[in-house]
Amino acid sequence: MRRINIGYYIREGFHGAGSHGFMTFASIGIMASCLVIMGSFVLLAINLERNLDALMAENEFLAYVDETYSDEEGQALEAQINAIDNVAQCRYISREEAKENFVGELDNDSLYADLPASVLRGRFSIQVKDISQLADTIAQTREIEGIADVSAALDVANGFITLRNVTVIIALIMVVVLVVVSFFIISNAIKLATSGREGEIAIMKMVGATNAFVRWPFVVEGILLGVGSAVLATLVQWGIYELLAKAVNVYSHVKLVYIIPFQEMLRTLVITFGGIGLTVGILGSLITINKFLKV
């Protein structure tokens, strides 16, 4: 490409986008809408994943120490438990603390006030790193001499894993479907924007324009549409996300749901939107324009 033509192609690209005002507006609107729909699913999936991770991170099980062990002997097992790979954190709960917790859970019922702490076992509250390996970790804990029993809500843990996997799969399917749908919608929009210019292209070809010369201004126009859509989609997505985050935070008094700050995901989102916008814009214009180059 000769240097003198680069400026011309860019100018023509802008001229094309400007002179087809409504089609440009429609193309950017459609493309931005698809990006926002797609982005919404991705952001939802990321938030769910993060919340599930947080929930799973809080998942813990109890390992009961043999009743013949004193508190000191029981606490000495902590090093062995921590040596298990998947153990994130381990805390010893003495018989006395266990009794207080037990009475506390019963609303400090006076009936149990005189319950001797010795009837309860010392125990470890153990948090795991990877919930999917919970069963293995429990088995390894059981093998430690001095651990009499283990209590874990394996069903709940497995439920978390299933929920996360299903969410990720649905999000991935939605992203793939919407990328394909977006491509066709955008490609159609660009077709509409260029179809009125068949005459112009035919004239270019008849005065001796090479295919590259005809193509470049349309590619520039495609890039403009793609970038414009990505910028618009990012702004709209930001606005919607902030509104929803505010609403969730207002109504969720106990903070059951954690909303990731938008800024934390902004860079990834801009790169994703920009990449998709540019790819679809360039491919859309190239595929469309090739139809008109056979004069």
Binding site: I4, G199, I203, M204, M206, V207, G208
Partner: protein, 230 residues
């Protein structure tokens, strides 16, 4: 030079044989009318010269290009040697007169300096210097055709090919257009005009090639468009 040697053209779409072995030579600097009734093969000849269509057999040479073996990628360079004028002008509506000419020059990688120097000269030649900033919709039919001629001329082609250039114009404007084409020819450019306008052809006393049913029926220097035949 444009040289047709025993050219046959059969359209693939309907197997119609549009040309049955057409031969003629147009030398550099000539002014030639190509005449004939509708469906005689005039448009096919135009399309073959501009490489819009390919020959079925025979040979065509346009300047340095042998169109029988011309690769597709060379077609734009062939067209840069030709200036083409259409009956329906084919101007770009959202560009000014100057914009339409500049557009044609950009296609051939002209520099800004070349554009600035060339456009006023060409507009002066077709008598449209004062209309440089007008849009096609602001011009009369005759003026629009003059812009089309200016666009064909702006890249200094070896040959101007005009396909029914006066078909949409009244007799006065038609005569004007033909005078401009004659003036261009006098400056050294080969001109080939395809037309139906008998009176116009007979006014100019130029070479006339007549074609009917895909065959050349006459080729006369200082010829006439035969009233009896058509």
């Amino acid at each position: 030079m444009i040289q047709f040697t025993n050219v046959r053209k059969v359209y693939d779409s309907n197997l119609t044989e549009a040309l049955h072995g057409v031969s003629f030579v147009i030398e550099d600097g000539e002014f030639v009318f190509l005449v004939g009734p509708s469906g005689s093969g005039k448009s096919t000849i135009m399309k073959l010269i501009t490489a819009e269509e390919r020959i079925t057999s025979g040979g065509i040479i346009v300047g340095e290009y042998d169109l029988g073996s011309l690769p597709k990628r060379k077609v734009p360079y062939l067209r840069r040697k030709l200036g083409i004028v259409f009956q329906d002008f084919r101007l770009i509506d959202n560009r000014t007169v100057r914009g339409n000419l500049e557009f044609a020059m950009r296609v051939v990688d002209a520099t800004n300096q070349q554009i600035v120097q060339r456009i006023p000269k060409v507009l002066d030649l077709v008598g449209l210097s004062a209309k440089e900033d007008c849009y096609p919709s602001e011009l009369s039919g005759g003026e629009q055709q003059r812009v089309a001629i200016a666009r064909a001329l702006v890249n200094n082609p070896e040959t101007i090919i005009a396909d029914e250039p006066t078909g949409n114009l009244d007799p006065e404007r038609s005569y004007e257009i033909m005078c401009i084409l004659e003036k261009i020819n006098q400056l050294g450019t080969t001109v080939l005009v395809v037309t139906h306008e008998r009176d116009l052809v007979n006014c100019f006393n130029k070479r006339v090639i007549s074609i009917d049913s895909g065959l050349i029926t006459s080729d006369m220097e200082n010829g006439l468009y035969d009233y009896e035949t058509y």
